[in-house]
Point group: C2
Chain length 434, copies 2
Amino acid sequence: MPAILRADQPDFETRFQALLALKRESAPEVDDVVASILADVRLRGDEALIDYTSRFDRLDLAPDTLAISPEEIAAASLAVPPDEAQALELAAARIEAYHRRQLPENVSFEDEAGAQLGWRWTPVEAAGLYVPGGTASYPSSLLMNAIPARVAGVRRLSVCMPTPGGKVNPLTLLAARLAGVTEIFRIGGAQAIGALAYGTQTVQAVDKIAGPGNAYVAAAKRRVYGTVGIDMIAGPSEILVIADADQNPDWIAMDLLSQAEHDESAQSILLTDSPAMAQAVIAAVERALALLPRRDIAEASWRANGAVILTRDLAQAAEISDRIAPEHLEICTEDAEALSARIRHAGAIFLGAYTPEAIGDYVGGPNHVLPTARSARFSSGLSVLDFMKRTTIARMSPGALAAIGPSAETLARSEGLEAHALSVRLRLDALNEG
Amino acid sequence: MPAILRADQPDFETRFQALLALKRESAPEVDDVVASILADVRLRGDEALIDYTSRFDRLDLAPDTLAISPEEIAAASLAVPPDEAQALELAAARIEAYHRRQLPENVSFEDEAGAQLGWRWTPVEAAGLYVPGGTASYPSSLLMNAIPARVAGVRRLSVCMPTPGGKVNPLTLLAARLAGVTEIFRIGGAQAIGALAYGTQTVQAVDKIAGPGNAYVAAAKRRVYGTVGIDMIAGPSEILVIADADQNPDWIAMDLLSQAEHDESAQSILLTDSPAMAQAVIAAVERALALLPRRDIAEASWRANGAVILTRDLAQAAEISDRIAPEHLEICTEDAEALSARIRHAGAIFLGAYTPEAIGDYVGGPNHVLPTARSARFSSGLSVLDFMKRTTIARMSPGALAAIGPSAETLARSEGLEAHALSVRLRLDALNEG
């Protein structure tokens, strides 16, 4: 049974705080190992990559087989069953169409002082994407990371993915092809992050690294941050469903389990103003679990981290949801839009009974890389902007400098920065003489 | 003498790589100390803040004097000389006007499948700003950090600043008042970051922390990242000036020194296609140094980290500038706009002879918190977006789900995620029956 909390009970606040504080992820201490791998890749380049790949992935590579060849990629693409290929193409097209709308506009204006001001967006030159190996090698995840980069205008897009024992998921290679990836290297772990950050003889360094990974990959990303940019460090997945009395409990149960089946550390929470719905969903989860090949994982997640919270009304459910700031928020209520307007903190919102969260994982269009562990309070899902940066631009006319320069001079001097003050004063004097 | 490089010489690439690799900042190993301070603040709250402030800032506080009172702030504001107050007000107004244009728009559209898609921006609920103490307590920096947060719509804006021996810069308090800061605490160092991240009895926790600080503050920000959001970790300041033959060498020399005077680790680089201009600027720097109260710092920075690079032409100067990706780029050339259009990587660009970088530090309007250490390759200066986050929104109509749901089901099953597949399938079956 998951935790059942009632918002009208005196112990609610205590129990809710305990739920918020639930530490679901135990990050192993891998920092020292990661530091030594990174240093080794920096020093020995390809040779280090080949050694670690032999050791960790039982795969013998040479410099000229570090990259998966275009022929292999083409062959793998042909091996994908047609229905999967079509589904992936639909997903890629929809993700691209949504993300194209995120392309920002440059701004340029002249203000009342005569200053020409604005900013300009430019893409990151080269990006690296990490794709985990084994069961977590998700083609959908490759699309979600690569397409925003491509739409941003990133010229070079390198993928690193471990291929333990040499095994590759053909659908992942097709996804890379659809997303316009430039190169794919069969390397993983901290060594792959090192290669992308520092470059080796074969792997060119990039400017930004994105994509999920295990504890080693996450620690390596933290360490190379600064040398390159990184995306977020994602934690276990979460879903919060707000449901009223008139929903189908079987649908909601399956939505809750679609997060729970990812990982024992995943978290699924139901908020409802209907005690009957709460009971019905809890019962439906038990029935649904029996249908799942990943039942053990889903069940462990639901029992340990799942929660059902009974609220006074739907407005209170929205308030509680905001305190949690969930990664995924499903609003299954009669007027979902109205309730959604009250929400301030969530990674992604799914409205109405016909928008299961799984739609967003694959074909909805919005990105499925979203802030976890309450970080939706201060961060956003992956977007085109993560692969762009903004340069501010200013041009003073002589008149503009005459108007605002003296204030800059005053402030510079008040901060004890005389060269700052003089760099303005020399020009003002020239204007006065002129 | 700074390094002088000629782009047409055979050793250029080697010397340029050495310049890029120049490690200007030696970060002391403070991580263990910081970890213990953070843990202590988390455990003992106000008591820990009071202890550390007594120890590090020689200042005895009680819970009710941790915050600077509104009366003190009002009194300090009155103590500011009128010309400084007016200059600060002009700066605040111009910074606000520029940043208001950064407010993003929400998007909502229906696509051809009948899916309602979009996203919505919301402000971070509460932000904390760190303001360094001592000589680095810059009122301008407070404006640059606080105004974007206020424009974003952040409701609660807390400032922490150490006040060694109880000394406060009245101009900084006035800046806080102008920027609409909610509360100011006289605490600094890692303990201040801990208070903002975890909260204490007196200091409420925030969601995002911004602002510069010393090595302890930087290490503390890295550590609390995840619990709260943080802005960038800024390094020493840099300027790159591209100048043609027809510029005033005294002006350019002073611009170079306006970065050098910040910090011995600062870096000033001149790129020019004119050997005569290179020599004239080098000579002008020597003359200008004599005028500076912070001459020792500026001179040390210029000698150790300064560089003059002679290029074949201005196009090559733009290429080299992009490889450096400077924090501040001044383009002092005849057709500065045309050259600017070639630039892909820079934090801020200042165009033409009448736009000294110091204008941007105070009154230009754009933010002066900018990416250092070549991180303009992948990141941007501080903006309103740093205090907002985007929630993606999706609503499927039954028709949209029927159109794209089967593809989601196919992909979910190919990834072995049956609950994902079934959450779509249950609804599709209901639609087919209906």
